[in-house]
Amino acid sequence: MASGVKPRVKVPKSASAGEVITIKTLISHPMESGQRKDSDGNIIPRSIINRFTCDFNGQNVIDVTLEPAISTNPYIEFDATVPEAGEFKFTWYDDDGSVYEDAKAIEIA
């Protein structure tokens, strides 16, 4: 069970129609790979974020599969075209079944 998980997202507040914007996301998460052993020699169970998605007004923008080699606090930056005003919805899926969500509205200026 991962503790202290907190998603963060940075999206511009407004854009012009059709503009390509840069979105930055970061989630604080230990990303325990499942390859390490503790001091007693027991394997520390894997606990990672295994999937990240971003949707805009219900349409998928990006869908990422994350693997155990990805470091603590995965940072994902990507570009998206904004056709209209709306809301970006971000979802992270944890190995333990937890789902973390965040959303950011964007206006057309």
């Binding site: 907190k6 963060r8 940075k10 930055k24 970061l26 604080s28 603590t72 606090n73």
Partner: protein
């Protein structure tokens, strides 16, 4: 061509910027989040007369990518620790059931702490740095255990106090009762340590801007501390960095929290009087 010569005058830099655009970023200005202007170069304080004319933040010596990471809180990994400290700030600790927020009206009310410490503590009759002050609060007001000098929580507090003071000029007092300690720090700064017989000044006063292995030597200013070092992926306090420096001279180092390093911290901080508090900063 030595880079420190190029850093020397703005006139030379302007000329070079035309012929050698690769070095144009030596003139880069640091503005955090597009709203907090940071002074990264300014005239040296009076006590450095004859030693340095201009003082420069370590930020100036870093690569474009590292510089950029500090310009936006989202990209600055140290801000994660500031967030952790914000939570700790409001969490009651110890037998008194008090949190930092019970006495202090938000971290912003402590914006004058980072620029002025280490400073003389009248009641305790000695020079205090932020760690000592935090530990006094923990043990005397909150009834909590004191924190280790370089514990994660302690460094988180340092990062929080630095973050609310960003843009404020460092202004450490070197006269009055703190002066003997400052003199001691100054003597240390110019004392050669270790098998390599290096003083702080050998690198950070006489050779800043030059290469040391694959990196540029900075002036060793501490206005950006605590720093998030990319190679360590964690926060480092000023005294933690001193330890690394002294170790690199192949000497037995002093301990973070020792009187020697406190004196050195006071002296080195005073060398940056006039630069903005910039921490938590990003360095390689």
């Amino acid at each position: 061509m030595k880079i420190n010569k190029m850093l020397g005058t703005a006139v030379a830099l302007t000329a070079l910027a035309i012929t050698m655009p690769a070095f144009a970023d030596e003139n880069a200005e640091l503005v955090i989040n597009g709203e907090i202007p940071i002074v990264t170069k300014t005239a040296a304080p009076a006590h450095l007369e004859g030693a340095l004319d201009e003082i420069m933040s370590g930020w100036v010596f870093r690569s474009d990518e590292t510089q950029a990471m500090e310009m936006d809180d989202f990209d600055n990994p140290a801000m994660l620790f500031v967030e952790e400290a914000m939570v700790a700030f409001e969490t009651p600790m110890g037998s008194e059931g008090k949190s930092c927020a019970d006495c202090h009206d938000g971290p912003e009310s402590l914006a004058n702490v980072r620029p002025t410490y280490p400073k003389w503590n009248d009641a305790k009759e000695q020079v205090y740095n932020i760690q000592m002050q935090v530990n006094d609060c923990l043990t005397e007001r909150m009834g909590a255990e004191k924190e280790k000098y370089d514990s994660q929580l302690m460094k988180n507090y340092l990062a929080l106090l630095a973050s609310v003071a960003r843009g404020t000029p460092v202004n450490v007092a070197i006269d009055g009762p703190a002066q003997p300690m400052w003199e001691k720090g100054k003597e240390m700064y110019y004392t050669r340590y270790g098998q390599l017989e290096l003083s702080c000044a050998s690198c950070h006063e006489q050779n800043y801007g030059n290469w040391i292995r694959a990196d540029h030597l900075s002036q060793g200013q501490v206005n950006g501390f605590p720093v998030y070092r990319l190679k360590d992926t964690k926060l480092t306090s000023a005294q933690g960095r001193f330890k690394g420096c002294v170790r690199d001279t192949r000497a037995e180092t002093f301990k973070p929290g020792s009187e020697e390093f406190l004196a050195l911290e006071l002296y080195v901080a005073s060398r940056g009087n006039g630069l903005s508090v910039e921490g938590p900063s990003v360095r390689n």
